[in-house]
Amino acid sequence: MADEQVKLTLVEKLGRVDRRIIFLLMGVAVLIPLLIHYTTTIPASLIVQDLFDKVESLPPGSKVLISFDYGPATEPENQPMATSITRHCFEKGLRIYMISLWATGPRQATELIDGIITPEFPGKVYGIDWIDLGFKAGGQGLINTLLSDFTAMYTTDVNGRAIAEFPMMAGIKSLRAFDLIYCVGSGQPGNKEWIQFAGDPGRIPVGGGTTAVMAPQLYPYYPKQTVGLLGGLQGAAEYEAALMVKYPKYKTMSRVASEKMGPQVSAHLVIAAFIILGNVTYLVERRRQKKRQ
């Protein structure tokens, strides 16, 4: 009888773990993979592979618009998406046009320029191979304007130089001039707005990446209205994996998403373990309550 009393208390205790212990275990779960540099490679799923194949199918010189619609809060998830697509586009000889619907976007573009474009692709010339057009307010209204008249809103680049000075801007009258719109987003305005206000009415291929929280909301647009989607850090890691398969040189280069997947995987395992623990204790308690009744 006394033994049963102890067991009951233990089950109850396991069913009511103090949240500080959960926080501590979560912190440890995230910290250890970071310290031991645990990296994991996840093969590309169909929705990621489709986007990769779309970029792969574009002939050299094609125009890709990358929209930086996120901020530093979601940088760990979003920045690797921007990095992968930039590497892929330049490997294919595509032209990159950077814009932003978020005021925090241009800083993320600058980070990409300083961290990836300048050191990894020194041969790519500003104004010929890539251009940074900066931020404009308006959200979906801006996309609507760009669809009919791109130069009405973008008369200069991010540094205030007239766009007429740049050879790669010749012939850009509207969003229809682009072969692919790639939105890296984490909210509104973002991927959904690009699909609804540019992709659909302009019949322009739209793809991109978004945070894991937002990704399920974008599934209804795949595969007809969006060519593919990177969902969260995992999506970014999958794109990196696809890039490595096609361009093996990236096996030895920095793969931010794959490196960050380590902490994410262990965090998921901790959450899964707590879900199992919570349910086991709940079921045991319920069974005992029934017995008592």
Partner: protein
Amino acid sequence: MKRTIPLLITFAVGLILIIAMFIPHDPFFDMDRNFSIFYDVIAVFAFILGGGNLLRVHLNKVYLKRRDWKYSIVTVTGFFLMLLAGLLKIGVTEGWSGNFQGTGSLFKYLYDCTFQPLSSTMFSLLAFFVASASYRAFRAKTIEASILLVAAFVILVRPTPLGYYLTFWLPDPLKFLTISNLSTWILAVPNMVGQRAIMIGIALGIVSTSLRLILGIERGYLGGE
């Protein structure tokens, strides 16, 4: 008159935009383009409105010494510090012609050293709360809760080694039951069905609200009674 003119403007603009959607030719196409530009210009002023509103709320809170008023001082100070650092281009090596976010600028320093780490930290906290909330909320109390629990578990373990080891041994005829295939199915079928239903509902709501605005039935945006 104060209410009739805005109602007429709303009616005319709404009608023209609808016509432009179905007849994308001049003069409607040109009107649509111009209205979009007007919208973008107005959106810029929303930033000023937002700044003004932020100041009004927080200064009022400080003045009346409401609960947590000290945090409002931090908000207002941060607002002005960033605003002045950007407007006056403090620390920009090229002077007035340089980029306010350029190397060496105070704005860049503040952004990189305060805004960026604070934003990342706030978002990272989600992981801790998700862990705690999942432990407490995902309990198989009913059939519906059990379905949600299983779906969440499958999605959660999919990228982990556990997700692989749980089902890798399944024979070929049952391969569709692997965690990887199940998670793809959950996202692509039940999730998509639910999302589509929500989206269609929202779209119908937007259509009806827009019609109410265009026809002048909904007048809440005009303010007053």
